[in-house]
């Protein structure tokens, strides 16, 4: 079956997050827990619903990924862009992703 990860947006700041194996919401797709069989996917879905109900995250979804040379890659471009950020540099003057206020 297709491997899957659980992703959402954090309630407080909306930043895209993924669920890791320890049950934490992390900002890097590569740290995500990968479900490789149906039971694990069911568990992810339940975890996503619980985190939504607990007001930790919004828009929780299980998405398809593939593993290429040990790197996770979402199958849909939408999810790849969510994981990697906009595919473009920002407006002139922008100082990079890790500004003091929004350090990852």
């Amino acid at each position: 079956m297709v491997s899957k990860v659980l992703t959402a947006n954090r309630l407080s700041d909306g930043i895209s997050v993924w669920l890791d194996a320890a049950g934490n919401w992390v900002e890097q797709l590569q740290d995500a827990f990968v479900a490789r069989h149906a039971e694990a996917v069911t568990a992810l879905e339940a975890t996503g619903k619980q985190a939504f109900d607990d007001n930790k995250v919004v828009d929780a979804n299980v998405v398809d990924v593939e593993e290429v040379n040990g790197t996770l890659r979402p199958l849909r471009m939408r999810e790849r862009i969510r994981a990697e950020g906009p595919s473009i540099p920002y407006a002139a003057g922008y100082n990079g992703l890790s500004g003091p206020k929004h350090a990852a």
Binding site: G14, V58, R82, Y94
Partner: protein
């Protein structure tokens, strides 16, 4: 420009405090997402791919320097150092924290701004000609009427839960620079034979998945009937608009299914009942609002003619910028300056905090403190003396804001697309960047002349692709991006919806396809004066189809 009165201040402040309480309750878990979502949307807060997005209203695109500085401050303090000016004359921030949004709205309120009705099924920001109050060809300034509509429609209890969102645009000239025929209601300010001010009223235009050109249902509506007639339209729509199907809920579908004649009849019935009620606009009220929009005291600055000619002779880059980005003002010693937010290879509509501050400074020093946002995602200084054009240009150059491409092929409208938007199916910005880079040479752009490219990353058409001379629509096909091309669209007084030219193009081929279209046009135009749109309307799609696909393949 309009200044808040005590009621406005109290109202906006109370909404900020109300929203602060709602956000606190949401973050504490007291409010669930299902309950909170409509509340945050009413305050302009969306959830996009990477983060929340805050859309701030800029009524009819008019800003003061003080307000622009606040937009820069918000970009710097609460976002990632930039903002995105939109086709609805608003600004969007792509990275605000939900927990910061009450503070952002509080800061906006301090300069008489807010984010109300930038989302939801209500009457959205009323847009207007970005040259309002300055254009030589206007009958009257459309902004007082836009402001009257704004006040009337703000949290209007009857029209806060419409079948779908509702957009009104007003233009004050025969030359339509507000794209009124692709709005739910389009108002064209005009005078009748007795010299009275009124409006031609268009209804049921729109883009999205079902593009429609609005129908004119009134040739002349006296100005005092603006609110009663608009209310009549809204009532007919509110009653009969399709609430059963989101995709058929806009008034354009109602107009289409009912027929303009019958819809007009229903509106007239409502109007007859409303005409002589409290909705009738007293002349004194129109005058009072108009006073806020009185033009600045423009002194004669005839010395500018000589100095302008001299500067143009010594600096060809400056001359090119004046030629392309400065339009004649109603006062002969002044011009209307377009500040391009379309640097070659850049992101259409984006401006950094430093650029916003720079525009505020320039407007304060040289342009009577007035700035506009155009629906083509540029900024405008509506009143600049010809004598001041050179220092304005130098200041813009220093901030990377002097691209001389207004109305040219690199002046591209693009929605945020899949780089930001949760609804998008394909990216828009990188496509715009590649086309801009390909055609970036000033000489080549000048040779091509007026050509409007508009790009949307999904069928919702925020990038106005239906009315692009060349329109690009990004779709997802088998998990990959594909771009459909439409030709012959236009959003002016001769509005037309572009025609799909054939099968779509992969991202790596779409710029080549655009180049093929442009080269075909250059090869068949009558002379250098015939624009792309004129040529397309003369010859139709076939030469372009042949060039893109080959005549045999298209026939098959």
């Amino acid at each position: 420009m309009y200044r808040y009165d005590e009621f406005d201040h109290a109202f906006v402040s109370s909404r900020v405090e109300q929203f602060r309480d709602q956000v606190e309750r949401r973050l504490s878990g007291e409010l669930a997402e299902d309950a909170f979502k409509p509340l945050r949307l009413m305050n302009g807060v969306y959830l996009q791919l990477h983060a929340y997005m805050l859309r701030v209203a800029i009524p009819y695109g008019t800003l003061s320097s003080r307000q622009m500085r606040m937009l820069a401050h918000i970009a710097r303090k609460y976002d990632r150092g930039y903002g995105h000016f939109t086709t609805r004359q608003n600004i969007q921030y792509n990275w605000p924290r939900l927990s910061d949004t009450p503070d952002i709205l509080d800061e906006l309120a301090s300069v008489e701004m807010h984010a109300l009705q930038t989302s939801g099924n209500c009457i959205r920001n009323v847009t207007a000609d970005h040259f309002a109050g300055a254009a030589a060809d206007e009958v009257a300034d459309p902004r007082p009427y836009a402001e009257i509509l704004r006040q009337w429609s703000s949290v209007h209890p009857e029209f806060s839960f419409l079948p779908r969102k509702f957009k009104i645009a007003v233009t004050g000239a025969e030359r339509d620079r507000a794209a009124i025929q692709v709005h739910d209601i389009g108002l064209h300010l005009k005078k009748d034979e007795d010299g009275r001010i009124g409006f031609a009223v268009y209804v049921g235009g729109g883009q999205g998945r079902t593009p429609m050109i609005a129908k004119k249902i009134r040739d002349f509506l006296p100005e005092e009937d603006l609110l009663s007639y608009t209310t009549a339209i809204m009532r007919v729509y509110n009653l009969h608009g399709r609430r059963d199907n989101k995709y058929k809920a806009r008034i354009k579908i109602l107009v289409h299914e009912t027929g303009a004649e019958e819809l007009s009849r229903q509106v007239e019935v409502e109007f007859a009942a409303l005409k002589d009620t409290e909705l009738k606009l007293p002349e004194v009220d129109i005058q009072a609002i108009s006073t806020y929009f009185a033009p600045p005291a423009l002194e004669n600055r005839a010395e500018g003619w000589e100095s302008l000619a001299r500067w143009k002779k010594t600096d060809p880059e400056f001359a090119r910028w004046v030629q392309q980005n400065v339009q004649p003002h109603k006062h002969p010693d002044y011009g209307m300056v377009t500040i391009s937010l379309k640097p070659i290879g850049g992101i259409p509509g984006d401006a950094s905090d430093a650029q916003m501050d720079a525009v505020a400074d320039i407007a304060e020093e040289y342009a009577f403190d007035e700035i506009r946002v155009s629906h083509e995602q540029n900024l405008i200084l509506p009143h600049v003396a010809l004598a001041d054009l050179e220092p304005v240009y130098r200041a813009l150059v220093a901030s990377g804001l002097a691209t001389a491409n207004a109305g040219l092929i690199t002046d591209i409208i693009a929605c945020p697309g899949l780089d930001y938007c949760a609804l998008a199916n394909a990216r828009s910005i990188p496509v715009a960047q590649e086309i801009s880079t390909r055609f970036g040479s000033p000489e080549r752009q000048a040779e091509i002349g007026e050509l409007k490219i508009k790009i949307s990353g999904c069928i919702n058409a925020c990038g106005h692709h239906h009315v692009g001379h060349i329109g690009l629509l990004g779709v997802e096909k088998k998990g990959a991006e594909l771009y459909q091309i439409t030709l012959g669209g236009s959003g002016d007084e001769n509005t037309s919806i572009g025609e799909i030219i054939g099968r779509g193009f992969e991202p790596e081929k779409v710029t080549d396809a655009v180049e093929t279209i442009v080269d075909t046009y250059l090869g068949l135009r009558r002379d250098g004066q015939e624009t792309f749109l004129e040529a397309y309307r003369r010859v139709g799609p076939q030469p372009f189809k042949d060039a893109l696909y080959g005549s045999a393949q298209e026939a098959a």
